[in-house]
């Protein structure tokens, strides 16, 4: 009997010392969804510092996921299946066109500018000099939903009178790096990459054929249903991020995360609408 009383006393005393007031935010976790503009492993590596930063800053556990493709990404973000998302400008425009507005948190500022460009590239030793020379040539695109590896360059080609059907062939190679390497390896005569990738491969023999108009940078959005406290907390965390290591890890040259507005993407939206009308 005494033994039983002692045992019960011990259990009670242990239960007494267990924490009984755990904050709700500590218990939650939110997902950070990244569109697959780079190989998934690289993206995980690149966003690991930011994920860590946001978790620490917001006290919310952030889980980083990579979407299978741009379409899935748009769907997931549009359908509010993810809490936080990093989106390319075109994906954002397409997503808002289909699913309506989301909370814009911040956009990238690269070397002091929140705008970026894409480049239509070819090889250094190529005989192609202008966009018009691309007639009958092969062309590499990134993803059909990619801003700088498809939509804007396609718009530029059309503007130059080069429609897809007068190309000898064109392929979607998923990533900007694949486009750059596909051109360098001679599998494609030209391709479209974003500025960052162009500079990455320029030394290895890549040549710029034409530059796209400047488009507002990548943007962080949240689902429309996310509590405003969390939205603000996240926005605040992003806008106050000053750790260069975390910033440059996202992308080389990122100097800060700056406020974003839907109107920042109007020019892109016009291009996309133009393309849709053309098709």
């Amino acid at each position: 009997m005494i033994k039983l009383i002692n045992t019960i006393s011990l259990i009670l005393s242990v239960l007494f010392f267990l924490p009984c007031n755990i904050p709700a935010s500590d218990r939650e976790s939110i997902t950070l969804q990244i569109h697959p503009y780079l190989p998934a492993s690289e993206l995980i590596d690149r966003f690991a510092p930011l994920t860590k930063y946001l978790s620490e800053k917001t006290k919310i556990k952030i889980i980083c996921n990579i979407s299978k493709d741009y379409t899935e990404h748009i769907e997931m973000v549009g359908q509010d299946r993810v809490d936080l998302a990093y989106m390319g400008p075109a994906s954002y425009v397409l997503m808002t066109q289909k699913y309506g507005p989301k909370h814009l948190l911040a956009r990238l500022e690269i070397n002091g500018s929140p705008l970026f460009q894409g480049v239509i590239v070819t090889r250094n030793n190529s005989s192609i000099r202008t966009l018009k020379d691309l007639e009958g040539k092969s062309f590499a695109f990134g993803d059909p939903k990619s801003t700088m590896s498809y939509l804007v360059p396609l718009y530029m080609l059309q503007e130059a009178g080069i429609r897809k059907n007068i190309l000898s062939r064109h392929n979607f190679l998923s990533s900007h790096q694949n486009v750059a390497l596909g051109v360098l390896m001679g599998d494609f005569d030209a391709g479209a990459v974003k500025e960052e990738v162009f500079y990455q491969y320029k030394e290895r023999g890549l040549k710029d054929l034409a530059w796209t108009p400047k488009i507002s940078e990548h943007v962080f959005v949240t689902r429309s249903t996310l509590p405003s406290g969390t939205v603000n907390s996240l926005r605040n965390a992003l806008l106050t991020l000053s750790d260069k290591a975390v910033l440059s890890s996202i992308k080389t040259g990122v100097t800060a995360l700056v406020p974003a507005d839907d109107s920042d993407y109007s020019n892109l939206r016009s291009i996309i609408i133009s393309l849709e009308q053309t098709e």
């Binding site: 590499a140 694949n178 390896m185």
Partner: protein
């Protein structure tokens, strides 16, 4: 201890044993090396599979245009695999997709290349360099203990085998070898102590062993002979035959002398051939049949035998010569017979050729008295040889035996002996009492070897011959002296008688002559009486002349010796004859050179000259020539002035020559000579210390030579003879 054994006893055996162990060790090491090699091949194969696997992945990714994925994968793969030193992926357009280099130097390395293709299209070229050093190190780690254990095992096995072998085989073998060595030492001792050259050869005729005597006899050292054919020790002409004999000997080997009834010869290293006595002894051993040959040099014995034989032959010859000397025949016949005996001496002459010369009295000339087998050219060409002339003359002059070939430069007469008849000469002087009596000339073989021994024997023959000649000459001399004595006695009686008769006749003859000349004056010329009267006067004159000659020859006369010019005497003596000679078509040719003044009796010499001139006139009834020459010559150490009167008249026979100096011998018609001219001339010349010689040839003419002694600075004097 082991080292000592190694060096002294079983050197070859141990070396073989060690060699086998080393081969065993090498075999094990080669197996390890082979394993090593197989492992390396396996590694290479794995590496090839790896690059193919990488290629397979790259192919798939490239087909999906996942270039970045390929680049990332390859870089990651290379980075994470330490053994990859370098990895390069090159696109068909030479674009280098991946270039990974690990900053590390490693050798050995493995280069791998793989072409990534799809549907016949090159997609990518993969080049990889793999570091093999870790694999090598691990293999060495594995091999070293294996090799060390193999070495250790080899040493253990070797040592065990060595001790087992030593106990079971080497020690008994050592004992056996020791016994054999002792036996061999004894055999060698026996071999070396033998007085003969002993040669131990196998059944194939290869020289196996020999003693020091063999080295001494043949002049070879052991190393030069061991392993050589036994035929090296015999003259080349016997070698082939000897091989046949050797094979026959092996059919029935037995101890026996070699070459029965044959002269055996051996040859030294320097090529000296020598007669040999050889005995053979077959020796049966475990290693087969061997033949021990004992060789003895028979040169000395052969020489001794030859010497005895030659001595015997010469003694026999001398005995025969002495026996022949007793035969009652003249010297020439005896000499011919003796020459035949000399030529019959075995081994001396060639085809019985030779001759004997005798020296002429008072004349240094050799005259051939006997010959055998000589060609006619020699007989005529060498009939008379002056001393010092040619080889025979040299032998006569020097009184030494001359041995020379027919081609010797001293041979002044080289008559033809026939084609290619090469020979040598022995010219043996026949000497007695320091005077050369003659010379024996023998023709011997070209390669005949002169020897002191033979020359001694020839000298003995010559001495024997000298004795015979002296004996003969003494006999002749004695006979001649007896004849001369009889002659002297006869002449003495005749002289006395003639002197008396002459004395008795001279007075009435003088009266007859005186009165006849007186009466002749009163007889008128042209009458018969006048003719008769003149005949009487002439005959009386002739009688007076004869009487004068007889008195001159038979009586002692005194010489009125004074210094005169002989040339003037001869010239003046010739003058009265010139008319006479011309009438008979005789040409007098005076070729006298300057003659020193001589001491002589002018009248007497004029008489001598007159006699010779008169005889020359008579000797050339059909004309001819008389040549007068002079010369100076030393004969037997005495200087003479010689005047030669050479006519081309009838000449004389040998018999006439023998008689011309005899008194009252005349070839002239009776009434035309007294037969006292030449005897008187000879007497006059001898009274002057000179002499007269005649050399004649029938039908060709005669030469009278007057020898006047050359007296230097002597005062003229009267002397009686």
């Amino acid at each position: 201890m082991m080292k000592k054994i190694l060096h002294l006893k079983y050197k070859r055996f141990i070396l073989t044993f060690i060699s086998i162990l080393l081969v065993f060790l090498a075999f094990i090491i080669s197996i390890i090396a082979s394993q090593h090699h197989e492992m390396l091949e396996e590694i290479e194969s794995d590496a090839q599979r790896e690059i193919e696997l990488i290629g397979s992945f790259a192919q798939e990714a490239l087909l999906m245009n996942d270039y970045a994925g390929v680049e990332q994968f390859l870089n990651k793969w290379a980075r994470e695999h330490e053994e990859i030193l370098s990895l390069t992926a090159t696109a068909p357009n030479d674009f280098i997709l991946v270039q990974f280099n690990r900053p590390k130097e490693a050798r050995p390395s493995l280069n791998l290349i793989h072409h990534v293709r799809y549907g016949g299209r090159d997609l990518l070229l993969l080049e990889m360099i793999r570091d093999l050093s870790p694999a090598q190190k691990s293999m060495i780690k594995l091999s070293v203990p294996l090799i060390l254990s193999s070495v250790f095992l080899t040493i253990i096995i070797g040592t065990l085998l060595w001790y087992a072998m030593r106990k079971l085989a080497l020690t008994p073998m050592e004992r056996e070898i020791s016994i054999r060595e002792q036996a061999e030492r004894k055999f060698r001792l026996l071999l070396e102590s033998a007085p003969d050259a002993l040669i131990y050869a196998d059944k194939n005729g290869k020289i196996v062993m020999m003693n020091a005597q063999t080295e001494l006899l043949f002049g070879y050292n052991r190393n030069e002979l061991e392993g050589k054919d036994i035929e090296i020790l015999m003259p080349a002409r016997f070698r082939d035959k000897h091989k046949e004999f050797r094979e026959k000997f092996l059919l029935g080997p037995a101890a026996r002398p070699m070459g029965l009834h044959h002269e055996l010869y051996a040859i030294t290293k320097k090529g000296r051939e020598f007669p040999a006595d050889i005995s053979l002894s077959p020796i049966e051993t475990e290693e087969g049949l061997f033949i021990l040959s004992a060789v003895r040099d028979m040169t000395e014995r052969k020489l001794a035998e030859e010497k005895i034989k030659r001595s015997y032959n010469f003694q026999t010859a001398i005995s025969s010569i002495l026996s022949k000397s007793l035969s009652p025949v003249d010297l020439d016949t005896q000499l011919q017979s003796i020459l035949d005996t000399i030529l019959a001496i075995p081994g001396l002459s060639v085809e019985s050729m030779g001759c004997i010369y005798l020296a002429k009295d008072n004349d240094s000339t050799l005259m051939m008295k006997a010959q055998r087998g000589l060609p006619d050219t020699i007989i005529s060409g060498c009939r008379n040889i002056p001393f010092s002339h040619c080889l025979c003359g040299e032998a006569a002059e020097t009184r030494r035996i001359i041995f020379a070939s027919c081609e010797d430069s001293r041979h002044m007469v080289h008559p033809d002996y026939g084609k290619e008849f090469l020979h040598s000469h022995y010219c043996v002087p026949i000497v007695s009492g320091g005077k050369t009596l003659g010379v024996i000339n023998l023709v011997v073989k070209k390669d005949h070897k002169r020897s002191t021994d033979e020359e001694d024997l020839l000298t003995s023959v010559a001495n024997t011959l000298a004795g015979i000649i002296e004996h003969n000459r003494t006999d002749v001399e004695r006979q001649h002296l007896q004849t001369q004595l009889a002659q002297v006695e006869k002449l003495s009686a005749l002289g006395r008688f003639t002197a008396n008769v002459a004395h008795e006749i001279r007075t009435p003859l003088t009266l007859i002559g005186g009165f006849s000349r007186r009466l002749d004056k009163h007889i008128p010329g042209g009458t018969k009486d006048k003719e008769y009267s003149e005949i009487i006067i002439n005959e009386v004159n002739r009688l007076e002349n004869i009487l004068k000659n007889v008195l001159t020859y038979s009586r002692e006369s005194s010489l009125n010796m004074e210094k005169h010019n002989l040339r003037e005497i001869i010239t003046s003596s010739l003058k009265p004859y010139q008319e006479k000679y011309r009438a008979q078509s005789i040409r007098a040719d005076l070729k006298l050179t300057e003659i020193p003044d001589l001491i002589l009796d002018r009248d007497q010499i004029i008489e001598v000259i007159n006699n010779i001139l008169s005889n020359a006139f008579d000797a050339m009834p059909d004309g001819g020539s008389l040549t007068l020459t002079n010369e100076s010559m030393t004969v037997h150490g005495k200087d003479y002035v010689i005047v030669h009167f050479t006519d081309t008249g009838q000449g004389m026979t040998e018999e006439q020559i023998q008689m011309i100096f005899e008194p009252f011998y005349s070839t002239k018609l009776i009434g035309h000579g007294t037969g006292l001219g030449l005897p008187i001339s000879k007497k006059i010349m001898e009274d002057h210390g000179g002499f007269i010689t005649v050399d004649t040839e029938l039908k060709k003419g005669s030469t009278f030579s007057l020898y006047f002694p050359l007296q230097k600075d002597s005062n003229p004097s009267k002397q009686r003879t």
